[in-house]
Amino acid sequence: MKLKYIGLLFVGLFFLQLLPAAAQQKLKALIVTGQDGNHWWKGSTDAIQKILENSDRFKVEVAVTPPLGQDISSFRPTFKSFDLVVVNYGGTTWPKDTQRDMEQYMEAGGALVVIHSAIVPMADWPEYNKMTALGAWDGRDERVGPYVYYKHDRLVYDYSPGSAGHHGLQHPFTVCHKKIEHPILKGLPPLWSHFKDELYTRLRGPAQHMEVLATTIDDTDARNDGREDPLMWTVNYGKGRVFVTVMGHVGNDPELRYAMECTGFQVTLLRGCEWAATGQVTQPVPKDFPSDGIQTFRKEFKAPFNAK
């Protein structure tokens, strides 16, 4: 009898040990947001937070800058306390101290994920341009680096002069995976349909240490002569890893997040976040992932019960 109680005690202790261990496995992520003149950053931040936390892989905190036009000199989050920094921001360039913190964080092996309009701001911060590899608008032109795109199935570094950034009307498009063996994309359909989104093209920047993972053809651009523009890419910055996705527009007129409701966006973002933070992806390929011609949605920003 005594032995039975002792056994139960050990079993209980064993499970008690497991609980904090499971909690420790959650990665700490920080979303930096607070300014964006053309996007509903509160809505997109809420969606990103839900996507990350509903995966049970991340614990999320949000750092909000002062509003656009106000002094942000005191904005200085402690990046080094986090496994991952997600930039969902399109405003004033961060203060010098904050820039230096971020550079040191990344050089030491930090993780950065950059979403949609976050490739637009801070063109006057050269190291940020290196972290994102490609950018758009904000005065970027041939001085920041080449246009990068695929053409005839070859990666092109195009040094012709011209401004960076273009988007037409929002529309659905087909995502084409170029690096199907990369951990972020491994096992996912190489072609899939993304729901209506604001497609950024004509991106240019330093383009150093980058790997283009996926592209699409902007067939709404009459000037497009067969160019496939990058949609997702990775960058090595110091010892750190960067994942960039240009999908995920959230308009500033109504609080509509339909581009972020796309399962493909959510799954690739989640896998990109995990890869940036750890260098590997442990999440299985979900059954509800879209395919060529098929769009699927996760309106609650979490996997449905039958996704596994």
């Binding site: 729901f195 209506k196 308009g251």
Partner: protein
């Protein structure tokens, strides 16, 4: 100053004016398709058609200018207006009011089969509309207009 001097001065001025008139030209037109002044702030050229319209002896170019007015999951909204310009005279004959619609259309049809086109448009009355919580099911009072214009007014 004698009368003779006045006469010479008058003759010189007449000659100067005549000489100047030799080189005087009409004001240079610096635009090709449409004058920049017809483009309202935030709008851009969308499409144009050259037609002979009802009540006009001259071919006219009907030009549609539009801008985005909201993106929803399954539709977009646009504000737009038309400008009608004489194809040869380049005179701006008509500028329509702005309308809100889910399409940017230039509907020019000869519905009464008289060889002249009429301009039609479809829009939401007073720019008012509703959508559901998911941004679907666009509802509003749709108005179907035939634009009439009279250059004599």
């Amino acid at each position: 100053m004698t009368f003779k001097h006045v006469f010479y001065l008058f003759a010189f001025l007449c000659l100067t004016k005549t000489t100047h008139a030799q080189y005087q030209t009409s004001e240079a037109r610096t635009w090709n398709a449409y004058p920049p002044s017809v483009v309202k702030s935030g709008y851009g050229f969308n499409q144009s058609k050259v037609v002979l319209m009802e009540g006009d002896a001259e071919d006219v170019e009907v030009i549609l200018f539009s801008r985005d007015a909201g993106h929803y999951p399954y539709f977009d909204l646009f504000r737009s207006y038309y400008v009608i310009i004489g194809y040869y005279s380049k005179e701006v004959k008509y500028t329509s009011s702005e309308i809100l619609s889910d399409k940017r259309e230039l509907i020019l049809e000869d519905r009464n089969k008289d060889g002249c086109f009429e301009l039609y448009r479809r829009y939401l009355k007073d720019g008012q509309f509703t959508v559901d919580e998911n941004g679907n099911n666009l509802r509003g009072h749709w108005v179907y207009d035939r634009i009439e214009f009279n250059k004599s007014k």
